[in-house]
């Protein structure tokens, strides 16, 4: 069989893209099963991968019982490390599409169709579900909205494209995005920075307005106590990101 024929055969076998839903979760036993069910309700062909970020509760067991595969991180890495582990899994197993859905239930899996549209159509490599650019307005506390606006402005300047909400963790990427994020994904509070990472990796980024719910249970990972560190850390990352950097080598 020639190479071209093999490729066509490969295409025929996989006319539908293989999709992975990455769900980072840290002590979310109350909501995780519901999140898994919702994704499977949206499309039963999705493989749901819950990344249990060193939870001390029954998150992993609940997720497994609900029908998800579970990556159990032996240590708590924070959301960045957890999400990246999901992208590594997607790369290892050759998934075509990966979506990111938070384990706390604030992302509505019914909106996945809207989110996936530009990626499946080949118009974008990374689609970010935002709560501001339309539909029902999400009411965040004032301080938070100011922060989100500030990051959005700075990132827009950096990536030379208008962004309204870069803090959203509701995302979809294609193979290019999976490949990039599996080797280069920011730590700690990764959402804002990863948009810059994507732009630096020449991904086409777009925003998709979606409806989001307030948190069903648990608390935001960003407490008031840590918010100052969050803001300073992200600003520093954005500032340093202005300088050209040598391409990331996986291991020194």
């Amino acid at each position: 069989m020639t190479h071209a024929v093999a490729l066509i055969a490969e295409d025929a076998r996989r006319d539908t893209p293989r999709c992975l839903a990455i769900v980072p979760a840290y002590n979310e036993e109350a909501t995780i099963a519901e999140v898994v069910f919702e994704v499977l309700d949206f499309d039963p062909d999705f493989q749901v991968l819950v990344v249990d970020d060193g939870s001390s509760d029954a998150t992993a067991a609940c997720a497994e019982a609900a029908g998800a595969r579970v990556l159990r991180l032996p240590l708590n890495l924070g959301i960045g490390g957890a999400v990246q582990a999901g992208y590594m899994y997607a790369l290892d197993r050759g998934y075509d599409i990966a979506v990111q859905v938070d384990g706390d239930g604030q992302h509505d899996a019914a909106e996945l169709g809207r989110l996936l549209e530009p990626v499946l159509a080949g118009q974008a490599d990374l689609a970010i579900g935002t709560r501001f650019s339309g539909i029902r307005e999400y009411r965040a506390p004032l301080a938070r909205r100011v922060g989100i606006g500030l990051f959005a402005t700075l990132v827009s300047l950096r990536v030379r494209q208008r962004m309204t909400d870069t803090t959203s963790g509701f995302r979809a990427v294609n193979r290019r995005g999976i490949r990039l994020f599996a080797v280069d994904y920011p730590h700690d509070y990764p959402e804002v920075e990863s948009v810059v990472t994507a732009a630096r990796g020449n991904l086409r980024v777009c925003e998709v307005p979606v409806f989001m719910r307030p948190r069903a249970a648990g608390r935001s990972s960003i407490t008031t106590f840590r918010s100052l560190y969050y803001v300073v850390k992200v600003l520093l990352a954005l500032f340093v990101g202005l300088f050209p950097r040598q391409p990331l080598v996986t291991d020194e």
């Binding site: 539908t16 595969r69 990556l71 159990r72 991180l73 490390g81 990246q84 582990a85 590594m88 290892d92």
Partner: protein, 128 residues
């Protein structure tokens, strides 16, 4: 000058401790080099008085022992910065190891679970 005597004794003691740590394999040579350089430079200027005077005159420091402290401080700052980079590297590596370990465990679980599962026709035919 007692300050210089103290500095000389302290740096000799530091040299001794660092060398002993290397000998006992509790400190890698790679990380010891900066410590040896610090102790060495302080020892040199503590003993070599005219050198220290020239140095402090050049830096515009009126009281020569202060030049010694400034020098020691500079080396300590360089050491600390170096350790911050080492810690960052270690934490990046432990992150990667944690991720790889979780991926391998999941794969292992999958492989161990497979013989028990009877492949279901429904699953095979799921995708047209």
């Amino acid at each position: 000058m007692p300050v210089q005597l103290f500095a000389a004794l302290a740096s000799v003691a530091l040299l001794g401790v660092v060398i002993e740590l290397i000998r006992a394999r509790k400190l890698r040579e790679r990380y010891a080099i900066l410590w040896l350089a610090t102790a060495g430079v302080i020892l040199v200027f503590a003993v070599w008085r005219s050198g220290l005077h020239e140095l402090s005159k050049g830096l515009g420091i009126a009281y020569p022992p202060n030049a010694l402290f400034a020098l020691a401080m500079l080396f300590v700052i360089v050491l600390l910065l170096h350790y911050s980079t080492v810690i960052s590297k270690l934490s990046d590596r432990s992150t990667t190891l944690t991720q790889r370990l979780a991926l391998m465990e999941e794969r292992l679980r999958e492989l161990e679970g497979q013989p028990k599962q009877v492949p279901q026709l429904r699953d095979v035919n799921r995708r047209p």
